[in-house]
């Protein structure tokens, strides 16, 4: 059982429910384009589970016949896909230009104060996730927001208080998201996986943007400058794949005639 008393999730049941939809989606694209159904299938999994579980990604990879790493890479590109559980209500007020000109700054501050959390965070009770979103194409009714992808327009502080209360009372007009796992403090996947490429071992954080004052860039340049093993002598992955050996092949003399 999960914390809120709903039965523990059964992924086989989820997959069985999504499969007919997935097969229908795949059939809507030309035969060469089965992979096109990936995004719609991920949407469908998220509709059912409230987030994209690792099992869902693996299942989608099988259905559209691409490697799991590719599915993960693709899912991670899109901000509407949540790879960690989120709150029952995903609150996304706009922070872009037209909303800013119409008082979005105050609305955002009000949300942060009332929820006690910041951008990309989830409340401890798992009810609210909060993300300051970019232009939602409703600038005529700024400041605006989306709640579980449904629009709420013409925001005021009073309106924010009223809608948060309605969500707490379960009377808000937009249905809460399903929640098959307890959300953490954030649904963002950690930027630093802890894995290091050989050049970055001992570097504080390879994802750090670098620049002056950041150790990672400096450390990596130091390493390259003092590496006794010259970079050009290393076989590249491409060569490994092409000739199937780890040795560097000598440049072919009739190289140009091959092409």
């Amino acid at each position: 059982m999960t914390v809120d008393g709903t039965p523990a999730r059964d992924f086989a049941a989820v997959a069985a429910r999504v499969e007919p939809v997935a097969q229908d989606l795949i059939s809507q694209y030309p035969p060469a384009g089965a992979r096109s159904a990936l995004l719609p299938i991920l949407h469908e999994f998220q509709n059912v589970e409230g987030w994209l579980s690792p099992e869902a990604l693996a299942q989608a990879a099988l259905w559209v016949d691409v490697p799991l790493s590719v599915v993960e890479s693709t899912a991670s590109f899109y901000t509407l896909f949540h790879r960690r559980p989120v709150g029952r209500y995903m609150l996304q007020p706009c922070r872009n230009l037209s909303c800013t000109l119409n008082g979005a700054g105050e609305i955002l501050a009000h949300f942060r104060e009332r929820l006690g959390i910041g951008h990309l965070q989830t409340t401890a009770d798992g009810l609210f996730s909060y993300e300051e979103a970019e232009c939602l194409a409703a600038c005529d009714r700024a400041p605006c927001m989306q709640v579980n992808l449904e629009f709420v327009y013409d925001l005021t502080k009073e309106k924010v208080d009223a809608l948060l209360q309605a969500m707490r009372d379960g009377t808000f007009e937009v249905a809460p998201l399903p929640q098959t796992a307890t959300p953490g403090a954030s649904w963002q996947v950690a930027a630093d996986s802890g894995k290091r490429s050989p050049g970055a071992v001992g570097v504080s954080n390879p994802n750090d943007p670098g620049g002056l004052g950041d150790a990672s860039g400096v450390a990596m340049i130091e390493r390259l400058a003092h590496d006794p093993y010259p970079i050009e002598a290393r076989p590249t992955n491409e060569r490994l794949v092409r000739d199937g050996t780890a040795r560097l092949a000598a440049p072919s003399s009739n190289h140009t005639s091959e092409h």
């Binding site: 119409n102 409703a138 005529d140």
Partner: protein, 422 residues
């Protein structure tokens, strides 16, 4: 007031989401006429003669875009771009939700015109409501025999696939959209080859904006000459303009191109009480600002280009004399930094550093030299990327820094004074 009702006719008066209501008003009649009475080449010619230019941002002549498709016997695809996310733009959002059948009829006419039998509409992930409305409209049209096989007994068949995005501004760029439609990361492709030659699944593809396609039934009904006669010669026709910012009545207003920025301001209710407009961004977040001395310019593709900015997606944001342009620049720069796909270094790194610099200006850590750096970095990012996203910061940022430099300087000093010593 030159407000017209062509694409926006009936919105707010009739339930245009209902197929019967749409058909009573002449809906799908032009699609039927196109398929039963016209050859695709005639349609391409008609649209070319109308002078219709793309409504998504680039303003490329639609008929010419269609004519680039090679005659190589390969399958062809029509893709409708409904990934509207340009800051300040909300016209496609309205068209999708209020007139889904008009959008669908436009897609069908365009698909027939380019000799294709499979159309896709890429709907922005955030438009969940619009997606449901469009799916319902598509189901109605299918049941009525307007989408499917052997339409009107002519043997012509067409399929329409609805594809939802998942939150990525960059997917509005046509090659990124095609990648996303193929189930990949939405990263723009190197051009050439252009989509017309090698697009979706490597086949010839046309990507057209929602408003561009929704205009087609009207051009068919009234003729190319009717459309070409409106507005400036090289930039003709009616256009939905999304007006927001510091105006009393923000909204979508349909006007003939060439209407002046002052008239558009008046149409949107004018400035707020006691305020004056000091600047406007005339073509979405990626366009350079114009200022009060430009209010009498006509709003069309060529006049905007001649004045160093662009008509873009047709979104005007008006700024009055209360505007904090540092905050405005910060909102837009943060947006482009957030939405960079990360493929090209100038865009990925430049956007990030501009955001960091604007943040520190607003938080008390700014330096006087930061002002020059904002202009220099945004300029260095420009022209070095696969797609126009990295080029989109400079126009607005450079134009407001140049015009409102004292605001930036005083912001740096004020926040320095107010900053809590660490």
């Amino acid at each position: 007031m030159p407000v017209v009702k062509v694409l926006t006719a009936g919105i707010g008066e009739a339930n245009l989401r209902d197929l019967d209501v749409y058909r009573e008003r002449g809906g799908y009649e032009q699609f039927r006429r196109a398929v039963t009475e016209m050859k695709p080449a005639e349609l391409v010619d008609l649209v070319s003669r109308s002078g219709l230019r793309g409504r998504g941002g680039a303003g490329f002549p639609t008929g010419r875009k269609w004519s680039f498709l090679p005659n190589n016997g390969r399958p062809r695809y029509m893709v409708c771009n409904c990934d509207e996310a340009e800051p300040g733009t909300f016209k496609d959002h309205m068209l999708l939700e209020e007139t889904p059948h008009q959008v669908l009829e436009g897609i069908l006419i365009g698909t027939y015109a380019i000799g294709s039998d499979h159309a896709f509409i890429y709907i922005r992930g955030e438009f969940q409501h619009g997606y449901r409305i469009f799916m319902e409209a598509l189901a109605q049209a299918r049941a009525a025999g307007l989408v499917g096989e052997n339409l009107f007994g002519t043997g012509y068949s067409v399929e329409v696939t609805v594809h939802r995005g998942a939150g990525a501004y960059i997917c509005g760029e046509e090659t990124a959209l095609l990648n996303s439609l193929e189930g990949r990361r939405g990263e723009p492709r190197l051009k050439p080859p252009f989509p017309a030659v090698k697009g979706l699944y490597g086949e010839p593809t046309v990507v057209n904006n929602v408003e561009t396609l929704a205009t087609l039934p009207h051009i068919l009904r009234n003729g190319a000459e009717w459309f070409a006669a409106v507005g400036p010669q090289r930039s003709p026709g009616y256009k939905i303009v999304s007006i927001s910012g510091h105006v009393k009545a923000p909204g979508n207003y349909e006007v003939p191109l060439g209407t002046t920025l002052r008239e558009l301001l008046a149409i949107a209710g004018g400035p707020r009480e006691g305020r004056n407009i000091v600047a406007m961004q005339p073509g979405g977040g990626s366009s350079a600002c114009l200022f009060d001395e430009h209010l009498d310019l006509g709003y069309d593709f060529d006049t905007m280009a001649a004045n160093g900015t662009m008509l873009g997606s047709g979104a005007i944001v008006y700024f009055d004399d209360t505007t904090d342009f540092v905050e405005a620049a910060r909102a837009l720069v943060r947006f482009y930094a957030h939405e960079s796909c990360g493929q090209c270094t100038p865009c990925r790194e430049g956007g990030h550093w501009l955001e960091v610099t604007l943040d520190r200006i607003c938080n008390g850590g700014g330096l006087d030299s930061d002002i020059d750096m904002l202009v220099a970095v945004s300029h260095q990012m420009t022209g070095l990327n696969l797609c126009p996203l990295g080029d989109s910061i400079e126009p607005f940022l450079a134009s407001v820094v140049k015009r409102f430099e004292p605001q930036f300087r005083s912001k740096i000093r004020r926040t320095q004074r107010e900053a809590v010593p660490v």
